[in-house]
Symmetry: C2
Subunit: 274 residues, 2 copies
């Protein structure tokens, strides 16, 4: 049986950084089962004291001290937290110290402006990209595809919508998407309105068995979800895309994050802000 351990992500802001670092680290210990909790907005010694109490209770319950991944900046808050019966891991400390040495200046040690709205222009572009992707989801607004940075193309349920939203939200990229309908698939070539934007097209494909599974959850027992139909649709879609040398990604075993990163990387699209 896997050993259990409690992990807390503690931050003075959203906790996103602590979560991301901590998650990358704990996944390196597959023999353990980690129960993970985020405690955001710990921005005063009082709040830190409440967290210490919670950590100490957890230590009693578990019979082992919990692991804390912290991105706290304020030393007075950090000091309180260090008094808990917990393993305290500072996610940023050593990187900050190294960079201070390189740049020859002290870090500002103000509470993080990461994940805040401070970089207004990049933030604005991300929100605009989300609005664009929503307005150009599922083949909407095809006449306006010229404004897109990338147009994801594939059969229904191949992963286009979540990928385009993720690309918009994280990278500020205006990602449209177009579902190849059975009618499109019966033709000799991709729809003319897509071919007008050929250089922006990116194909998404998927294994027929996985597609069947996903479609069957939506419409159990339907022709839409039938394995033969899924195979035929995918075969036609891949043929159409190969014919026009549209780059293609198989999404079966990839997360949205991975798919989006691969497409961004391969298209060399410019992202807006970090």
């Amino acid at each position: 049986m896997a050993k259990r351990r409690s992990v807390f992500y503690v931050s003075d802001r959203t906790g996103i950084t602590a979560e991301v670092v901590g998650h990358s680290v704990v996944t390196q210990f597959p023999q353990f089962l980690f129960s993970q909790t985020t405690i955001p907005f710990v921005d005063s010694p009082e709040r830190a004291r409440a967290v210490v109490e919670r950590l100490d209770q957890q230590a009693d319950r578990d019979g082992a001290r919990p692991v804390v991944f912290s991105t706290l900046i304020d030393p007075s808050v950090k000091d309180v937290l260090r008094s808990a019966r917990a393993l305290f891991i500072d996610c940023l400390d050593s990187s900050l110290t190294t960079l201070e040495g390189e740049l020859g200046v002290k870090a500002s040690h103000t509470v993080g402006s990461s994940h805040s709205i401070e970089d207004n222009l990049a933030y604005h572009e991300r929100i605009e990209a989300v609005n664009f992707s929503l307005a150009h989801d599922d083949g909407l607004g095809v006449s306006d595809f010229g404004r897109a940075d990338v147009i994801l193309v594939g059969v229904s349920r191949s992963g286009k919508t979540p990928t385009s939203l993720y690309m918009a939200m994280q990278f500020g990229v205006r990602a449209a998407n177009y579902p190849l309908t059975p009618e499109d698939l019966s033709r000799e070539s991709l729809p003319p309105q897509l071919l007008l934007q050929r250089s922006k097209l990116y194909g998404m494909t998927i294994d027929p068995e996985r597609l069947q599974q996903i479609r069957n959850e939506r419409r159990p027992g339907s022709e839409y979800a039938d394995i033969g139909n899924c195979q035929r649709e995918i075969r036609s879609a891949e043929r159409l895309m190969r014919q026009d040398r549209i780059p293609m990604i198989n999404t079966t075993k990839k997360s949205i994050e991975e798919i989006a990163t691969i497409i961004l990387h391969e298209t060399k699209l410019e992202r807006h802000g970090y």
Copy 2:
């Protein structure tokens, strides 16, 4: 004038972790202007050598060595990268070592499964949540609001849509949203179909000046974007929400990440997976 420095996020996978850590660190040096580049999928010594070449060229161009935030795991790949004329910052190394000591086992040092699809159940819930949020965006599917985890309520352009998509994508939370129309706002209380789900409602409000700005970009010079109209709509919306003691957040100076984290934190909704 701000000093410039090139920063690279290098990873054997998506680069998300390196970006998040690096971004948190560099924002602590506001006197510098950092040009940021992500290089994902560096998973072989050959690829690492190509990165070294790129870094060395950058060092020549800048007249200063670039800063590399790395989450590379494979020592043979890492060693190649360390040979570049760059400051090498290992984002995970010290946290990994600390946790190894605590747990009494060695890290697996396999290429990260963070951001991958491996945790299938949690991943599936996130995708389902995105589909739910899309199908219940902008007041769609109100009759099905009972299945929502949270329902964001506010006037048009107060930030509901990107927030609900972010909550779905990042936390696997089924977030619906409902725009209060001028007709809704003229009534004595919130729409009855919303009040049926009162415990799930969360209000979003915004400063009238900011709302005017956002609406004016969409429909310049319209009554919709008129400052008086924005003020009246917001006043009515806040009155309706206060009347039913709906919790409310002012989104004016907050990023989607911050808004989503605050709502998750205050509603104590359970998130699905990390």
